[in-house]
Every structure is written in structure tokens, then in C-alpha cells.
Symmetry: C2
Subunit: 458 residues, 2 copies
């Protein structure tokens, strides 16, 4: 974790934004896997990490209206020490987070009892719903609706622009990503299985002391956007789509996608689609600068790719009109990117209070409606830029049956691509004072030439 002052400053800014509020930030408990004591790897609640740093279970932060700050936890017994080794005292934990007072968790309810209104972020784990219901004497069904939008908006405003130390953390995660992609390339020969690539990448992340920031997508069927099965065997001529991220011990994430030709060389058809996606990503990154709205960056990528798809005969008519109508979304059915930070979709638990400007809402158009972020860019924001083109048989057939946007889409030609799969290319971008910077000290191969050189077998 960072120095105590970092957390003190963040909490001071939060209290300034919400004067007079009582703010309750429950950290996570252990998450049971197949019985209570067999847990998943512990992951702290990101808001707790942001405000108090400790990646330990069963801690609760309480900020009182008079400025008092308290950390609640459960002191260790001798049995705990036998099982888990010596642990810092609650007082030591509080001091490391710059919190003045530590109290046993059992005292939390009486501390809360005197408060007229307690603000907390919307919990996404059921365990937190039950705990908040108990502590605040609410019906469990009321816990999520009663979460404080004002608190989440204030937290989003604080967390939106990254501190240099946070950017450095993301760069550390990207150093792990660079090694993960080296490992993936090393493991992806024809005849290997998707799971072999996962094994190599997972090992590379752990070697950096990193978790994975999400369950990686490693698939020869890139058209399945969130594919978590690794059962296929790779063959010469396949595309392998790899979307993965690392997470530092402090909780910061990277998120990178590359699409590789199994065997080392793209076919002509693969190369043509790949170049369209790459151009879309290039133009989108070039468009990122302070003041620009991210939906416009998304549409920039969409227009570039639509123009490329038109050249390939998959779209037709006026490109701007096709994109305005959403025709590109048949092939690019997701958003261009999302905030990145302590979460790989940073602050997604705050809902669109984080990703969208106050007072704005998501589009209802297919594709654009999946855009997780539509902020006006500011220096310090970090997000992904990840355009893709996919040939999703179920979606193509559904749109064709409906004759949807047939003036812009050559369905007969699209049907010749049903075995293509998909291509996505993703990098992590930091907005600077005068533009943006692709993060990551060591680039991960991306151009056709670089990818083919990296994938070439000796």
C-alpha cells in the first residue's frame, strides 16, 4: 500500500465533497468457493482500497460527520496466529492507513446507532447486503436502493483522474502483461490447446506477483466476446484472440487484447480485417485529448472501421450514415473502451455515475448502448481503447432475417465470413495535457509485421 498520507488526503477530499456526511465503507470478507473456509483469493473492495489501502478481510472504515475516522476489525486470537501466523494489530493497521482510531468490529453497530443518515456505496456482494442490513437495521431489499448516489458520484470524481502513483501501478501491471503476451506467443503453436496458453500466461502474471484482473479470454473463437472456455486445440490458420489483464498487489489493473495468427502468418482475409481494426484503434487513440467526449472517440473508430468494411464489400452506402444508423455494430457490437484503475472496468460498481457525465445516459442503440464510458476526457483519465470486428453467426442471421439495415449491409458477403471468428486490439491510454499516451514501457506486438515477427517459429 501507499504511505498513510495518501489515504488521509483522499479521505479529506471526500469529506470536503460531502460535508457533514457519515460515510461507511465496508471492506470485503472472504468469498466462499465451495464451502465457507475454502475461499477464492481475497480481493478487497476497491473503494476501501482507495480510501484505506489494506487488502485484508473484514475491515470497515467509518468517517464521522465531525471528522473522526475509525477503522473496525477483529483482533486475532492465538488460534488465528497458529493458522495464519503473526498479524499486525488493529491499531497498527489503522496507523498504516493514517486512521486515528481502531475499534473492534462488534462496536460498529453502537457507533452507527446515533447517526441519522449513513452513506455507503452500492454493495455488489450479497454478504455486504446482509451486513449492511444488520448494521443499519434495514430490510435486505432496501440496502441497494438506499445506497448513496452522492457518495458514489463524489468517489467517482476523486478516482476519475489518476494520481501519478496510480499510473505507475497500472504501468507495473502492464509490465506483467508484456510478459504474459510473450508467454502466450511462446505457447500458441498449432496443436497446442487454448488452456496451454492460459497456463503460460497465468504463470507469467504470478511470476510478477500479480493476480489476473479478470478471467482471461483466450480463444480461437474470438467472435464470442466473453469466452471463458479453453477446450479448443489450435490449428494452423486460426486466429487466437487473447484478452487479459494483470492486477498489482495494490489492486491496479491492466487490460490488453491481441489477436494472433496461429502458425505465425495471417491469411490475406485475416490480414485485411486485422488492418481495419488496427486503423480503427489508431484513429481512436489519435482522437483522445482533453475536452473530447469518449462517445466521439468510439464513433471515430466506428467510422474508420466502417470505411474499411466498405472496402471489403461488407458494408455499403455512405459511411457516416451507416455508422449513424448503427450498421457497423453488426461487426463491432461493443463499446470502444472503459475506465481503468483499481478495477479493470474502473468503478463499474458505481454504475454509470462513474462512466457517464452527470446528467447523461446511455444510448439505446445496439452496440453504442454497450459503451461503458462517455466522459469528456480530462488529463489523468485512464481507459482502454479496444475496437474489434467479429462475425457472430447468430447475430448475422438474426439481422438478416429481420432485413435490418439491409441498405448498409451486404449480408451475402457477411455469410461468407461465418467461420472467420473475430479480431480485437486493445491498449491502455492515459490522457495527458495535450493528447494522450499509450501506457506500457515495453510495447506488445501490434502491427501485422510485428505480430508476425513475434509469432514466427524458429
Amino acid at each position: 500500500m501507499f504511505e498513510p498520507q495518501v489515504y488521509q488526503n483522499r479521505r479529506a477530499r471526500l469529506r470536503q465533497a460531502l460535508p457533514g456526511a457519515a460515510i461507511l465503507i465496508p471492506g470485503h470478507g472472504e468469498a466462499p468457493r465451495n464451502y465457507a473456509a475454502n475461499t477464492y483469493e481475497f480481493r478487497q473492495h476497491s473503494t476501501f482500497l482507495y480510501l484505506a489501502g489494506h487488502a485484508l478481510p473484514d475491515l470497515v472504515l467509518l468517517l464521522l460527520p465531525d471528522g473522526e475516522e475509525l477503522l473496525f476489525g477483529t483482533p486475532a486470537t492465538i488460534d488465528d496466529i497458529v493458522w495464519t501466523g503473526p498479524v499486525p494489530s488493529l491499531g497498527e493497521l489503522a496507523a498504516a492507513a493514517g486512521v486515528a482510531r481502531a475499534e473492534p468490529l462488534e462496536r460498529l453497530p453502537e457507533r452507527l446507532a446515533g447517526l441519522s443518515n449513513v452513506s455507503y456505496p452500492r454493495p455488489f456482494r450479497a454478504e455486504q447486503v446482509l451486513a449492511l442490513a444488520r448494521w443499519l437495521r434495514k430490510a435486505p431489499d432496501a440496502v441497494r436502493p438506499d445506497a448513496s448516489a452522492a457518495l458514489m458520484s463524489a468517489l467517482a470524481e476523486l478516482r476519475l483522474c489518476k494520481e501519478p502513483r496510480e499510473v505507475e501501478q497500472i504501468e507495473r501491471a502492464l509490465a506483467a502483461s508484456a510478459d504474459m503476451y510473450d508467454a502466450a506467443i511462446g505457447a500458441m503453436a498449432p496443436g497446442a490447446r487454448e488452456q496451454d496458453v492460459v497456463a503460460a500466461m497465468t504463470g507469467a502474471a504470478l511470476f510478477h506477483g500479480c493476480a489476473q484482473s479478470f478471467i482471461p479470454i483466450v480463444s480461437r473463437r474470438g467472435e464470442v466476446l466473453h469466452n471463458h472456455a479453453y477446450g479448443n486445440t489450435l490449428a494452423e490458420g486460426d486466429l487466437l484472440l487473447v484478452d487479459s489483464g494483470a492486477e498489482t498487489a495494490e489492486g491496479y489493473a491492466s487490460d490488453i487484447t491481441r489477436t494472433f495468427p496461429v502458425g505465425g502468418r495471417f491469411t490475406d482475409r485475416q490480414r485485411a480485417i486485422y488492418e481495419v481494426v488496427l486503423a480503427g484503434q489508431r484513429d481512436a487513440i489519435a482522437a483522445c485529448a482533453p475536452g473530447v467526449g469518449f462517445a466521439d472517440v468510439h464513433l471515430t473508430a466506428a467510422r474508420t472501421m466502417a470505411a474499411g468494411l466498405k472496402e471489403l464489400g461488407l458494408l455499403r452506402g455512405d459511411v457516416a450514415e451507416a455508422v449513424a444508423a448503427g450498421a457497423h455494430a453488426l461487426f463491432f457490437p461493443h463499446g470502444l473502451g472503459h475506465l481503468l484503475g483499481l478495477d479493470v472496468h474502473d468503478m463499474e460498481d458505481y454504475g454509470d455515475l462513474a462512466g457517464y457525465e452527470p446528467g447523461t445516459a446511455r444510448s439505446t442503440q445496439f452496440g453504442l448502448g454497450f459503451l461503458r464510458m462517455n466522459r469528456r476526457l480530462r488529463p489523468g483519465m485512464v481507459f482502454t481503447v479496444e475496437p474489434g470486428i467479429y462475425f457472430i453467426p447468430a447475430l448475422i442471421r438474426q439481422w438478416q432475417e429481420q432485413g435490418h439495415l439491409a441498405q448498409f449491409i451486404d449480408y451475402d458477403r457477411a455469410l461468407t465470413y461465418l467461420d472467420f471468428g473475430g479480431v480485437r486490439i486493445e491498449d491502455d491510454v492515459l490522457v495527458t495535457d495535450d493528447g494522450c499516451r499509450v501506457l506500457g514501457a515495453r510495447p506488445i506486438p501490434k502491427t501485422v509485421a510485428d505480430v508476425e515477427a513475434a509469432c514466427a517459429r524458429p
Copy 2:
């Protein structure tokens, strides 16, 4: 998963054991990590796996008193198919599990409304507590107390003795374990970090298409029984304790511990303790046979190790008396083993209804009270045998201050071992008709000679 008849037969036996019962088995949903959509790797509820096989989220099995069986789930939409690819229909899922009827999950409450009493196993995830409260119109606080002990006892009786196909699954997990330990040995040179060993082992498990059945313990501080930190660097002369398991796609676990000398050779003091633990394990395994109570096997290991510790001057007096008084537990403070199957601590979510014979309860003695299992052994039972000796500074100092069992313990000598760490040796054992068999086709090095040969650097 297995053939539909396997699950039909298991359900038929369960219904025979509980005639006239309505039995509700909610499968798991996704477990959120740092926001709702960023989940941990999905793990199905083991009872659901046992009775209906599918490792997919948000399925519910309902067995009605008249013998009707229903599988509830949520049919996929086109958006689901875009994100996660084509999925089998609910009807296909039901058929694969041998269940006659499939219904959308939203109909579950009306199906339950007409039933006077619904039996369900005690949930350990808060999400299931909330779901059961909603479905059964209970207060959340009543959900766990109202779980059916009769149902859990009947399930324990069914699952206690493994079918040959289940033993085969555990052997598959052990094949992954064998490769995981090869990888560990390959990665554990002086100068390597604990996390490098974790990285290598994790990759080896994934290469087998296996998850890890629990968060591995990989530590040069083996005296910390459940150590999940991997920050230390290994040095010549360290002991590295590695306790890990694999889990097959069908959900069956292995669980193996080895303790290795970093650098390739045990010191004399390490070898002496190692041989004591190995002798304890050997005698315990030799004692496993149908009809034997597992607490007696535990005490067999304790007596063998106490005799060894007496030879080393750490214990004194009559060995049987020392063990009866619990003096050995200063050095061997945990139980000898636990059931193994779909869970690495099989059926631990049923509490001691699974691990203990009906009508028996845990000892209150320190050490013996941690024994997770005290069943009379029967052919087909699978469990771990994992004695260990540790020098836990906090525990030794606490007992010494209390003068606890000083007639049996040489505290001055124990204090000279405070930097020792710990040794544990664990295998997975199947009770046969006339004794037992250590599972695993390929042995993992265990004798001093075999361990040193495996660890020797070229």
C-alpha cells in the same frame, strides 16, 4: 459430467432416504470479485454437482414429494449469445442430467408455494441465503438455522463412499498434482521466490485443465499452517512446505503436501524431524482399514511422532500418557486429515454431519478438536493423511508461560527450534475391502532419499 443415469441413480437413492420430502438444491450463481460483472472463476455448489452435474451458474434443482424432478434456469437471450456464444437450451441441460422437466427460474416461487416443507442444505454463500429467503418467504436470519440436517445427513451417507468413477476423478486430479510437484521442484532453487513456485505449479494445473482445489500453501515458513503469502525469497537450507491440490473439470479434488529442502539436501536437524513425520504418516496409513475409527488413526500418528520427538529430546515421559494429555499437539496442532471428494474438505458445508459419525462430536482438546473427521472407515471412503510437526513461536511461548504439560515437554529444547519452521507430508488414501491404498498412479517423491534425488540440481 457423467452420464444422465449417474445423476438419476443418485437422486433416486436420496429420495429413498427421505421419502415424501421436497428437496431444493440451488446451484451457485457467479461470485463477484470487485464488481458484479467481474467474477471469480465459477464454482458450482458441490451438492448440485453431485446430483445434477452441470457446472453452470443460476440453475436450481427441485425434487418433489411425488417423484417429479425439475431443473430451473434462465433461457439465453440474443445478447447473451453475442457475449458468451451459443449455449444449450434449458431442456438440453435437464436431459443431460436425466431430469425430466425444465422450467424458467421465475416459476420457482409458485412451484414452492404449494409445498408445506422444503428441505435444503445449509448455504454458505450470502447470495444463496438471500435467494432462499426470497423463494421460501423467510427472514434471511432464519435461512441457515432452518436448513435440513436430515437432508445433509442423507447426502453425507450417499457421498461418503466414492463410486469408482469418483475415485478415477480424484486420480486424475492427482495426475495434475504429480506434474505440479515436478514444476515446484523445478522452480525452487535458492534465490527463487515462493511466488515463482506458485507460478510454476499453477501453470501445471491449468495445463491439465484443472483449477486448484484450494489456494496453495507454498512457504518457507511451514509453521504457519494456512499461509497464503508468497513474498519470501528461498535460501539454501530452507525448508519449503508446499500444500496444494488440483480440481478436475467435474469438480473432484486432490490434496498433497510435501516439504522440500531448498538447495537439495536436508540438514541433519531437518532430516530428523522429517523422518519423524514420515514415520507418523507411514504408521497412520498402515492403520487405515474398514472398521477402524479415524480418531484412532490420528492418535496412531500422534504416538509415533511423540516417540520420535522424545528421542529428539523435545518430549519426555511416557509416550502414551503424553499423547493422551495432548502434549504432542504443541508440535502437531491439527487433525490428521479430512474427507476428500467433490470438495477438498469433502462436505465441509454439511458441518460435522459429514465428518463425524451420527451422535458423536468433536473433542474439546487442543489439536484433536481440529480433527475434521472421525468416521469409522468403510471401503470407498477417501481422505487425506497429513501429519506434521511445526515449531510455532507464539504457541510454544504461550504454553511455556502457562507451564502447560511441562512434565511432558522440554521447553528449553523446543526454544532452540524456533527458527525451524515446519514439516508436513500428505497423501490421499482410499479405504479398500481389506485395508487402504494411497491414490495416485505416479508417486510424488516422499522418502528422504527420493526427495533429495528429485531436488538435486544438475
